[in-house]
Subunit: 214 residues, 2 copies
């Protein structure tokens, strides 16, 4: 299809599509003449992914490019591609975790026998978040996340298999990204709803107690 | 303390502090002369909170102001303050969920007997995220989040009680915000680590199988 149809079907403006082509987050189309190219369903899927990563994941275009770089190297084993995606999703330069807390998280991961790349930004980011929670007086340790880790672990193998089982390697990497960024937002919303429901329950039982007293 | 000391102790520049004062996300200090004011520990805590909401939660300053507005109305019961915080955290105008999916999420919440405000953005946002996952071919329904909801529910009552038990109402609202925004990022990091560990485990067992075949 032409760029105008790609724009219409994806809901992304032609100007933005051209910008993504220049920034190399969207692969070039098949040239049909000196100034035209043809695009396919893969481009629509990729545009949808880019929008999800930016709008839902709050990623910058530079992060999107880094996370998607793993789709380009056909030689890379899928596990390494997955590691590259995870590396691309966060910017280690923006993380300020205390060394002690970082060590505490590393030890906790080792105890769980989770094999994590030493430079995985999620380890350092989790340590930073623990530091922040402590600054606010919350009695949090790495071990506070053991129940959450157990429950994430219970579904993670199936999720990774699902990504591996996609028809091609680009689809596998894209599925890993969607499974990471969109799912984690969904989990966050479930948590917000659970907190609101708990707050309503507490308020309600306080009211019943109160009217019982009269 | 003077604004210079507030800046030094919080790590936030004087210019940014003045901006937050003008934007009314940071309460004014106690005036000490016509052009000076005195700040206290509450201001340091508030600055830390604002930075966490912006840097970790990815909130705009307008979202931060909306979420913090609930600290100002002393008459508001804590549950309503909590609802206001949740309303402030997301912008419903940016959510595009299909009506069917929104209804599906509403029904699922009703089945769980979770009392959620009809205008809670998290309901609509969760529906939108389900739509996106489906666009990528993932077989997701509201019910797919039942295990996550069970596990969030198990700790939510304690978390809300913890916020209620803070020494004053401002601290309660601040704790709700931190408990929501910082914790959900931490949970997301735990999920990323679980996925990476699962990917390593799958790659490893493939390698063992492979060498067994030789």
């Amino acid at each position: 299809m032409k760029i105008s149809e790609l724009s219409r079907r994806s809901g992304v403006s032609v100007a933005t599509i051209k910008y993504y082509l220049r920034e190399e987050v969207l692969p070039a189309g098949e040239p049909t003449s000196s100034n035209q190219a043809s695009y396919d369903e893969g481009h629509i899927r990729r545009l949808r992914l880019i929008r999800a990563l930016i709008d839902i994941g709050g990623l910058s275009l530079a992060r999107v490019r880094d996370a998607l770089a793993a789709t380009e190297n056909d030689e890379l084993p899928l596990h390494d591609a997955f590691g590259a995606v995870m590396l691309g999703l966060d910017d280690p330069g923006t993380i300020a975790a205390a060394d002690d807390t970082f060590g505490e998280v590393r030890d906790w991961l080792a105890e769980r026998r989770w094999t994590i790349a030493p430079d995985a930004p999620a380890t350092r980011r989790l340590a930073e978040l623990i530091d922040i929670l402590r600054e606010f007086g919350l009695p949090v340790t790495a071990d506070s996340f053991t129940a959450a880790a157990d429950s994430a672990e219970a579904t993670a193998i199936d999720e990774v298999h699902y990504a591996h089982d996609q028809p091609d390697r680009i689809a596998s990497v894209e599925m890993m990204l969607i499974g990471t960024v969109v799912y984690e937002r969904a989990m966050a919303m479930v948590r917000r709803l659970a907190l609101e429901a708990a707050s309503a329950r507490i308020e309600n039982s306080a009211r019943i107690e109160d009217s019982g007293r009269r």
